[in-house]
């Protein structure tokens, strides 16, 4: 593919259907986006003790995140340098003081350095030397963390983690600041759901304010009906009904919600749920925050207008309810999402229960919300595989957004600036691969 082709495929107001369906383009994405940029590995509380590990994929690469003896967190390729066998065979666990290959017992320290090779004399006089990096597990080129959230990049070059996150780092600030001690802890249950559609369907959908009242009409209407009945009978209804009933809002209401679109394709859908009731639990909790941070700061933290934050191209963080969903693309038409939630350290149990209810009702594998998202994306994938049309339209409100310092603020919640901004970033990732920099002699 040439740069000319790229400009044809991804235009400011529309993209060619093949960016969702083509295997060669998917491979380019894996190589130039996922396997270069900073990718979320997990939260440090997932690997508390020395030897605790968690396996994950960065693009197509099987990796393991592990707590080293010096308390640092390492991210290594989950691969024995001898014959390539994966060293960790499950999602998480404790590997003791090192890794041992289940095939020929090569062993490695927790930083990936080779520790012992059986009958090592067998390598005398060969190219395989113990002090050769090729005898050790290969580490990710860069590992960094922000407020306990660990990322790795398989490329030694590129922006720092903080540069990459930019203002979207508010995803983690907003989550942690809501704890009186400024920290969160993972709840060790990860739900995994496979969608039969391209990963971009998920990323676009997350900030697509036109879809909720259509896609989720059945659930929104049903929840609102029961919520209203409970309110009528008991005066108030549990907050979790609201998590579902807000989906049944009007187009006009959704159009009034703003999206904020950052460099690198990141973005924010601002708040619409109003999660500050005045019940005793909330009053107690807000009191704890005020005590910890002072009136002004606590108010700033509590009133941040965020529904969720996207870290492009793979992460959706619903910070006010401590939810996190991470995409691991498998194929052009197959994507795994890993779904986690967190506990605000030092916050009352009742506040955790709100995150728990959201996790149960919206993010569990029995979700009444994503049931219809996944159905629509599958049908979307099939539609884009057809020859019934070549283009995917992102024309809505084009030219109607406000851009300041590289950040695009929508003036209509349903503006497709979200997708336009994501594809701007997509193009920036892919372009160097198809248009190598010309050296100036």
């Amino acid at each position: 593919m040439t740069a000319l082709d790229l400009d044809h495929l991804v235009q400011p107001d529309r993209v060619h259907r093949s960016v969702y369906t083509d295997q060669a383009l998917f491979d380019l994405e894996m190589e130039n986006m996922f396997e270069k940029t900073w990718v979320y590995c997990g939260h440090e509380s997932q690997v508390k003790a020395v030897g605790d590990y968690h396996t994950l994929h960065i693009g197509r690469q099987p990796m393991v995140m592990v707590r080293d003896r010096d308390q640092s967190i390492r991210v290594l390729y989950n691969r024995c340098p001898h014959r390539g066998v994966q060293l960790c065979g499950t999602h998480s666990g404790n590997t003791g003081s090192g890794f041992v290959c289940p095939y020929h017992a090569w062993s490695f320290h927790l930083n990936g350095q080779v520790r012992a090779i059986p009958l090592a004399k067998g390598y005398d006089g060969t190219r395989m030397k113990l002090d050769d990096p090729q005898a050790s597990m290969v580490p990710a080129a860069r590992v960094d963390s922000y407020r306990g959230f660990v990322f790795a990049s398989l490329s030694p070059e590129g922006p720092s983690l903080q540069e990459f996150l930019g203002e979207a780092k508010v995803a983690f600030d907003d989550m942690c600041d809501r704890s009186p001690v400024g920290e969160v802890e993972v709840v060790p249950v990860c739900h995994r759901v496979v969608q039969h559609s391209n990963w971009k369907f998920f990323m676009e959908n997350q900030l697509d304010a036109l879809h909720p009242s259509v896609t989720h009409q059945s659930t929104g209407v049903s929840a609102r009906r029961i919520e209203e009945r409970v309110k009528k009978n008991q005066g108030s209804a549990p907050l979790y009904f609201h998590y579902l009933s807000t989906f049944a809002s009007s187009f006009d209401q959704w159009d009034s919600v703003q999206t904020v679109n950052f460099p690198y394709g990141h973005g924010i859908l601002k708040a619409y749920m109003g999660l500050r009731p005045t019940d005793p639990d909330t009053v107690e909790y807000e009191g704890l925050l005020k005590k910890a941070y002072g009136e002004e700061k606590a108010e700033e933290y509590l009133s941040r207008s965020i529904h969720h934050v996207l870290i492009y191209p793979y992460l959706s963080v619903q910070s006010p309810l401590q939810q996190l969903r991470c995409l691991r693309p498998i194929a052009p038409d197959k994507t795994l999402s890993e779904i986690w939630h967190f506990r605000l350290k030092g916050a009352p149990e009742a506040i955790y229960r709100r995150a728990l209810w959201y996790f149960n009702l919206v993010n569990s594998p029995a979700t009444m919300i994503n049931a219809d998202d996944l159905e629509n994306w599958t049908r979307g994938q099939w539609g884009l595989q057809s020859k019934g049309g070549e283009w995917v339209s992102f024309h809505r409100n084009m030219g109607g957004d406000t851009e300041t310092n590289g950040v695009a603020y929508s003036n209509n919640g349903t503006s497709e600036v979200v997708m336009r901004n994501q594809f701007k970033a997509w193009q920036a990732y892919i372009r160097p691969a198809v248009q190598p920099a010309v050296s100036v002699a």
Partner: protein
């Protein structure tokens, strides 16, 4: 490679016998005593058995369990919900070691009001995921009454559910634990606990209705 005049015939004429001895290969560094997994606590739940079970009671309980499964397969949602007490709970934990439906993450944690939300969604004409062919078939068996009181029973059973959605078949299987209470001449479900063997597997699409 050093050059010799060794022939294959000569090479095959000698050899060593490997014996099973207590040798260290290096792989033991994870568990030098070879006993690592023995320390891992058993997972799941082994049912108790009630001392004596009246066959008529067993018949009544089995009929209830088989009918609740048949109602799900027949999509008779309202009839199925009517099997529960007013404070009944349908609970599918994330892990078999969970003990409390309200404080730990679940796949399902629904009281009658939330069941009604789910039923309302399934019956709504714009529940898009319901456009595709979708049906289930449950088999329920291994029924054991674990504990009997005058007006309360604890019942253990196992299930296997096949699901057809569009052109794909999935299987879900596990155990039920029913807490039943007597209401008039009937038994009603106070808690239906569903421990699914594949609860923590990756879900290919989601689960739309109760299992």
């Amino acid at each position: 490679m050093s050059k010799t005049t060794l022939t294959t015939q000569q090479a095959l004429g000698s050899g060593v016998i490997i014996e099973a001895v207590h040798s260290m290969t290096g792989a033991e560094s994870i568990a030098p005593d070879h006993m690592g997994r023995a320390c891992v606590p058993a997972q799941g739940y082994v049912p108790q058995t009630a001392a004596q079970v009246d066959p008529a009671l067993m018949h009544q309980v089995q009929t209830l369990l088989f009918r609740q499964a048949a109602m799900l397969d027949a999509k008779c949602w309202a009839d199925w919900m009517a099997l529960f007490t007013d404070d009944g709970v349908y609970w599918m934990p994330s892990n078999p070691d969970q003990t409390d439906w309200a404080s730990q993450p679940s796949i399902f944690a629904e009281d009658p009001l939330l069941m009604e939300v789910r039923m309302g969604r399934l019956q709504h004409p714009n529940a898009w995921s319901q456009a595709a062919n979708w049906s289930t078939n449950h088999i329920v068996g291994n029924v054991m009454i674990e504990h009997i009181e005058k007006d309360a029973l604890e019942v253990y059973s196992r299930f296997h559910m096949m699901e057809l959605r569009r052109d794909n078949v999935r299987h879900f299987a596990g155990s039920y634990r029913h807490s039943l209470v007597r209401v008039g001449s009937d038994w009603k479900i106070k808690l239906q606990r569903v421990d699914m063997s594949n609860a923590q597997g990756a879900y290919d699409y989601v689960i739309q209705a109760w299992v």
